[in-house]
């Protein structure tokens, strides 16, 4: 359900041509905003997993001699990382068990994009900028006045869950995530008057 957000992808491949080739394809995928990271050794892969874990790891199954996916997942059991194999040659299908998907040397950009979208369950249909609904505007006014989710739920006779959904949609539509940012938006667009704002 993520949208427009940056997808972090680590590419572990020792061939500089293949690695940089794949990364330049990833960067140009039209629907996805990808932040790639090059990994060139097992040590680098460990460093990567001990920092900000990427959303996806694309790795040559022969990386570091032989890359054992199952063992790798056991080492980092808490991480919800998706692992895609990067096939540059004919490979024994036994080696490919445990991967979430695979990218082959002759895959098109479209195919690669589809694989990544499917894996992360991205829905790209409603990517167009939508206008705020009346209710969403009302919710903004309440946020700006300093009301809590509970207070808003009582005020609108809605569940807290619904309020949270409204808030999420507002952030998504406006690309503003903080109350302070919404306050500026609300005043500039005359949804509220400065005298009503809790500063």
């Amino acid at each position: 359900m993520k949208r427009l957000e940056t997808i972090s992808i680590a590419v572990a491949e020792t061939s500089v041509i293949v690695r940089n080739g794949l990364i330049s394809v990833l960067r140009k995928l039209p629907e996805l905003n990808i932040e790639p990271l090059e990994i060139t050794s097992l040590e680098g892969l460990n460093d990567c997993m001990q920092g900000h874990v990427p959303d996806i790891l694309i790795i040559n199954p022969l990386f570091g001699g032989f890359f054992n996916v199952e063992q790798f997942r056991e080492t980092y059991p808490k991480e919800e990382i998706k692992i895609i194999s990067l096939l540059c040659s004919v490979t024994d299908s036994n080696l490919l068990k445990g991967f979430d998907d695979c990218i082959e040397l002759y895959n098109s950009a479209d195919e690669i994009e589809k694989k990544i979208s499917n894996l992360l369950r991205l829905n790209k249909d409603n990517s167009e900028q939508e206008a705020l609904t009346q209710r969403e505007k009302e919710v903004i006014c309440c946020i700006v006045k300093g009301m809590t989710n509970k207070e808003m739920a009582d005020h609108f006779f809605l569940s807290i869950h619904t309020i949270i959904t409204h808030r999420r949609n507002i952030s998504r539509k406006l690309q503003i995530h903080s109350a302070a940012g919404l306050t500026i938006y609300a005043i500039v667009n005359k949804l509220v008057d400065i005298s009503e704002v809790k500063i």
């Binding site: 680590a10 995530h177 940012g181």
Partner: protein, 235 residues
Amino acid sequence: MYNRMCKKGKYKSTDKMSDLICDNYNLLQVLSRFELPLGFGDQTVKEVCDTCQVDCTTFLAVINFVSEENNRMVDNLEGISVRSLMNYLKQAHHYFLEFQLPEIRMKLAQAIDYKNKNEVSYLIMKFFDAYVEEVKKHMDYENKHVFKYVEKLIEGHKDENFHITRYARHHDQIELKIKELKNIIIKYYPANVSNNLLNAVLFDIFSCEEDLVAHCEIEDYLFVPAVRRLEKEVQ
């Protein structure tokens, strides 16, 4: 010379320092954070570093990291001085907090006419100040905890209560909020006839944001792995 104009890639210790800067003026920031002055004539990277007692390997590692197109988890850490790298990061903190952000604040105040106390400009400044406070907290934590820990580590003492991985995991992105401010100004700020001042400050905000991202990437992909090696050695 002519085909080196847009050289991207590995720099060597025998390259001329002046060529480096002409290739990529972003490297000026790196120079000043290593406290390397301009006016180095035709000296090579190695010569300039030696004169100023800067560790050349570390300097090159940073320069090459910054000028590479893609981020890469650095694994060739041989010869990199953690102390020198840390000094670099400290200088960068100083630069952001004492120079870059105050400068942007001044320009922003002027651009949105803060003096006349209109309500929107008041809120924008408030937003900006809250952002700076966040950056300051982020960097203070690094100065006070992470760097202190690393300093002891360099001296051979390992504090068992801290681990660089803990820092690496919680090292959050500090550029998100400034992105939001930028969005608000670009999308929602009421337009005036002349936007020159506002455009100029937006340019600064864009470049500051990029600079902050690059700074955090150096911490994540160069500094943290180097400290991790050091942790292993000290144990």
